[in-house]
Amino acid sequence: MGSYITKRLLLSIPLVLIISFVTFAFIHLSPLDPAEVVLHSQGIPQITDELLAQTRAKLGMDQPFLTRYLNWVVSCLQLDFGDSYITGKPVWSMLGPAFLHTVKLTLVSTFSIVLLSIALGVACAWKAGKWVDKSVRGVSFFLTSMPSYWLAALLIWYFSVKLDLLPTSGMESYKSYILPVAVITISYAGIYFRIIRSAMLSNMNEDYVLYARACGLPEKKITIHILRNSLQVAISVFCMAIPIILGSTVVVENIFAWPGLGTLSVKSILSRDFPIIQAYVLVLAVVFILFNTVSDIINVALNPKLRDGL
């Protein structure tokens, strides 16, 4: 097991390198001159060629592509992602707090998605074909197909404006979490509970369930066995849900003015703040790879068949 984890972690290093290279290369392909962006943001009225050349030299843009890439990778390893073109502050000082805020939102949302999906999935599997199952699936289909910005607007209008119960935006207290988490949960739980439901249903028809019943085991114990086997599929899906939500909170964060990665990335893209965009893509890629690895490791720990294959 230990060697498997080491192997998986080692394997992810070249993957991160490839992603970092692609990210860097794509930004490099952008027709915009970073020096111009910097000078514009400083509000300099007359941009001369001389000034441009000076700024380029200051940013290190006069060096060859590969040298710049290597310099960037080495400093990234020390968590130094450069300085923002716009504010001049170190990227990490802006990205770090935003990342933490988004992680908080993501973790709370994932927790509620997992709870809701398991509860609904188990309930629907037990009552498969009955009205409970049909209505839950119908309502969830309706809610999941609503775009999240529309759902967010509806919730804000009802709970914040009409009832004045919850804040419309920002991140002041635990109350600020309720609406964004609700929007994210509604968009994702509707997909994930189906996975649990169908895994439960296919496990219920397995022979081991029949044999457990034939041996007179109580339904409660049998349900635990079914759930344990069904969760194997779901756990890898849930693990991948965390980075997916992390990367897709853009809409929700912008609507609720959540000071997270989504808001920061949109702002940076609009102002062509390349160092932040580069760092954002890289951080997300690392998170994706990390959770992919973690989900594989959890799966191996849960599934004895996979464990034997090591």
Binding site: G216, H225, P304
Partner: protein, 274 residues
Amino acid sequence: MTNILEVKNLKIWDSRNDRVIVPNSSFYVKQGSCLAIVGESGSGKSVTCKAIMKLNKAGIRQSGDILLRGENLMELSEQRMRKKRGKQLCMILQNGMRAFDPSCVVGVHLKETLMEHFGWGRDEIIAKMKNAMESVMLKDPIEVMNKYPHQLSGGTLQRVMIALAIVLEPDILIADEPTTALDTLSQFEVIEQFLQLRERMGCSMIFISHDLGIVKLIADEVLVMKEGEIVENGTTQAIFSEPQHTYTRYLLSSKLAMNQHFKRVMGGVNVAER
């Protein structure tokens, strides 16, 4: 000899499309005897046995009377029926490889079952299971209990199920094609265990099979099913020597034809006779 199990006017149908699977069947199992149910796949053998355990899938309904030692199982609540399963009515499934939870070691199922029915402690369960498993010729019972189903063979798991039945000492043992998923050698070993089980415990048994060779070896009485109906029943000897129904004759002749083909292939060696 008294009847330990009596099935009267059992009707089984699928409530979703009103298809009748077993229209009306009545039979009985005598104390200490073995009743074999034979027939092609889809003839209603398995459904009949699951009906005795009241374990058919949700949409499948049943009516009639099932008397176990005079007690009508059809009138029992699910709660009381559950107490009978395992302890009085024990089942052995066709595919041992799929009969145990794939993510738990085999011992977990054994412990949960015995704890449920007898309330024994861990050590007592292990001691009892160890004895029973040794009696069905399983080497290293402790090791087997600590293995996952996929690490064991179908024959071994089949014998684990028989060992559990030995400890449970049921009134009646229902074996649903217990040898179909096994290779010939394991089949022989498992059948050997069934024969010993009968000798040692005098356990009544319902044995479903489409292997007439095995049926001839193990059963006292035979019930022939076709499309849900019982077309013939009688003692094993009578069925094999003087089959009355055309379908029984057809089953026997196809078995005979297969044997002859087998003999021809093997160059006249008398291996297929049982």
